[in-house]
């Protein structure tokens, strides 16, 4: 019988109305994956790209060589940042539904990826965020009022009304601008790291993208430049299983992990349980130490699940089972750190609830302050002349003229 090639089109494991099926997610038991020395050679650790680094075991205890042995205080701070991120997201989602902001993107279910990474890096390390990494901002101490004012495009908006909600930036906090153009910041992070190496600084850069975004050519550019110049950079892929309606197989995740792309470039690569705060912390710390010591870039794939809709413009019930998150084998990062703290550090349901309500109140207070700087419908508003600022450092004549035209029209 003759055979002809047949176009293979990846099929999502489960669609609406079907039973969630995560049998494709390869898991390793907590504590089972070796931890190479930070100066180990890439070719001696290629197994890390297919295994799954996990620290918190099923009984909520920290086990194995990747246990970062954090102080109880740091664990509590991490939990607090994650809870605050979630409370912030919940509030902003609600505000979008009420028409107070035009758009929003939540990070529910992925909080550990950002929060643990930010805590594992030095404050002078430069972060190149994606639109779903608000935890980076929060873990670095960004005021929620600032984030809210950006979402409101109000008189205190850091972007001066020029960007959609969540496109934050924070130069003082060493966090670059979120770009709507997927993966564009990936090679930029490598370039930042190259500059650090050129200047002789020991700062490290890190960037985050979703697994869907690895399909863009900029992913390849980043890995090539990172490998060629051994740039001190951490390239994070947040594999949350879905890129809007297409599952991770459409970015090439059906046969090999996303981390497995790294060794082909000669880049140290690790696949980690993205819902395990301790594992993300440990792996990020390892990669940052490696970069700082001159051992080059690391690619980290964080295995997690996008618990919410892609954005407020999205309706995931059209393309995936409603109960997928409940079936997700790696659970909820917040609940897992909470249980770990209860098991090992004297945390309790009561303390947890008290913290949650304290943070919710804090978010409410921040919102009430943010709207005093204006909303989409009520002032104070930004000065509309701002529209023409910052296209160039100095405004050229044609923009001065156009600004004049706009003013004249307003006066008519």
């Amino acid at each position: 019988m003759s055979r002809t090639p047949k176009l293979h089109v990846p099929r999502a494991p489960a669609r609406p109305g079907e039973k969630p099926d995560f049998s494709y997610v390869h898991l390793s038991p907590a504590g089972a994956v070796e931890r190479p020395e930070v100066h180990a050679r890439v070719r001696d650790m290629s197994g890390l790209a297919d295994a799954l680094v996990r620290v918190i075991d099923d009984d909520h205890h920290a086990v194995g060589p990747w246990d970062p042995h954090l102080e109880v205080h740091d664990l509590q701070v991490g939990l607090r940042h994650m809870l605050l991120t979630r409370a912030f997201d919940e509030r902003m989602l609600r505000m979008q539904r009420q028409g107070r902001i035009s758009f929003y993107m939540q990070s529910k279910g992925e909080e550990a990826v950002s929060v643990a990474a930010a805590m594992a890096m030095a404050p002078t390390d430069m972060l190149f965020p994606s639109y779903r990494t608000q935890g980076l901002q929060i873990a670095r101490g960004r005021s929620l009022v600032d984030l809210m004012c950006q979402c409101l495009s109000n008189s205190r908006d850091m972007c001066k009304g020029r960007q959609m909600p969540v496109m934050y930036h924070w130069s003082r906090g060493n966090i670059f601008s979120v770009s709507g153009n997927l993966t564009s910041h990936y090679p930029q992070a490598v370039g930042w790291a190259m500059a650090a190496a050129i200047k002789g600084d020991d700062d490290v850069a890190a960037a985050w993208i979703g697994e869907g975004s690895t399909a863009e050519a900029d992913f390849h550019h980043a890995l090539t430049f990172g490998a060629v110049y051994q740039a001190p950079v951490i390239l994070n892929v947040i594999n949350n299983q879905w890129a809007i309606s297409t599952f991770q197989g459409f970015a090439g995740g059906e046969r090999r992990s996303f981390a497995a792309r790294g060794p082909g470039y000669g880049i140290a690569s690790i696949r980690v349980d993205g819902n395990d705060f301790l594992a993300v912390y440990a792996v990020t710390r390892w990669a940052a130490d490696r970069a700082r010591r001159g051992n080059g870039p690391t690619l980290i794939e964080h295995v997690t699940y996008r618990a919410g809709a892609h954005s407020t413009s999205d309706d995931p019930s059209r393309y995936r089972p409603k109960d997928e998150w409940e079936a997700w084998p790696l659970g909820d990062p917040v609940a897992r750190l909470k249980q770990h703290l209860i098991a090992e550090a004297g945390w309790s349901e009561a303390r947890h609830e008290a913290l949650e309500s304290e943070l919710r109140n804090h978010v409410d207070d921040c919102w009430n302050e943010a709207i005093t700087y204006g909303t989409m419908t009520e002032g104070p508003f930004l000065d509309e002349n701002e529209l023409f600022e910052d296209v160039f450092r100095d405004m050229p004549a044609h923009l001065i003229e156009q600004r004049e035209q706009m003013r004249n029209l307003q006066e008519d």
Partner: protein
């Protein structure tokens, strides 16, 4: 006749062409199972299968590069780029490859590819969901560039684009997907069912590429526009006591110079409108063409009304958008001059 909005009309065009020609395939981010983020390809995968309506990895360069290969190998691909603002990773494949393949191989190779992409603002999409980059494409030799302003034309032009043996970049003004928007954001939205061009035949028909349409005949001045601006221009013309002739350019490359010339020779006055930024925008081409073709008929300087030369903002969208007020001012200026 059935009523369709622009999304349904575009869907119907692809449906018909998938049905008529086994070489037609549709590919893009989220276009398959989901039916597209704007639902333009809704139901097509169910009907024609996942080998003909194909979800793509998020890689615009990959999408455009691969449809060129498919086109060379005998298919007639329709690629969707989710937002025109995200077409740039595929720009090299369009500018250096798709547009020039026929020329550089003396006609031995070509790729009959259609690239559809929603463009334009007025949806609070900020700088990455609002751009009108048509001028970047009209400056490339070897691709046709089209932008419909209503459901009837959208379907007929998309069918022509798919049937065309040359590559076509097909921009869809997303602000008018669901209804004709006249530039006044405070007015309640009107659906296409209130508009004559919302009547769209169920079956096959085509609207030729290369023909402009006079949407309103008039004597006093000519307004050249396309996309969303066709509706803004009509509303603005109603506000002034002038008998404006409004021309929907519809296809930017090739341009229907004869229709434009005829109109301006008659009216002697011309306003050019587009949402895209002004400097080196397509309006400059229109203005130069009118000047060259109709110089001795012109009674006043040509005036352009365009987006300001800044990135598309999130706040101040309506200060940015070239709305009725700016158009009225331009019309008055052109009528008073000379």
């Amino acid at each position: 006749m059935p009523q369709m909005n622009m999304i349904q009309a575009l869907n119907s065009a692809m449906d018909i062409m998938l049905g008529r020609d086994p070489g037609v395939i549709v590919i893009g981010e989220d276009v398959g199972y989901f039916g597209g983020v704007f639902r333009t390809t809704d139901g097509l995968q169910r009907k024609y299968g996942e080998h003909r309506v194909i979800d793509a990895p998020i890689a615009e360069g990959g999408i455009i590069g691969s449809v060129i290969g498919m086109g060379v190998n005998g298919l007639r691909p329709v690629a969707e780029i989710q937002f025109a603002d995200y077409i740039y990773p595929g720009f090299d494949q369009i500018a250096s490859q798709l547009a020039k393949l026929r020329y550089r191989t003396a006609g031995e190779f070509c790729a009959p590819v259609t690239i559809r992409s929603p463009c334009g603002g007025g949806i609070r999409g900020g700088q990455t969901h609002s751009q009108s980059p048509e001028g970047l494409f009209t400056h490339i030799c070897g691709i046709k560039v089209v932008m419909p302003s209503n459901p009837y034309d959208a379907k007929g032009l998309l069918i022509s684009a798919i049937e065309d043996d040359d590559p076509v970049v097909f921009f869809e003004p997303k602000r008018i997907y669901n209804g004709p928007f006249d530039g006044d954001p405070d007015k309640p939205a009107v659906p296409w069912s209130t508009h004559p061009a919302g009547e769209v035949p169920e079956g096959y028909y085509s609207v030729p590429i290369g023909r402009a349409e006079v949407v309103r005949p008039g004597e006093d001045l000519t307004i050249l526009c396309y996309g969303t601006m066709v509706h803004v221009a009509q509303a603005a013309a109603r506000l002034v006591e002038a008998d404006a002739e409004i021309i929907d350019v519809r296809t930017m490359v090739p341009l229907d110079v004869a229709t434009l010339r005829q109109s301006v020779e008659k009216t002697g006055r011309c306003v050019i409108v587009h949402e895209a930024t002004r400097f080196s925008g397509y309006g400059a081409e229109l203005s130069a063409t009118i000047q060259e073709e109709c110089f001795y008929s012109l009674e006043a300087p040509i005036v352009r009304v365009c987006g300001w030369d800044t990135p598309y903002p999130h706040a101040f969208e309506w200060q940015y958008f070239p709305g009725q007020k700016r158009l009225v001012a331009a019309i008055e200026q052109v009528l008073e001059a000379g």
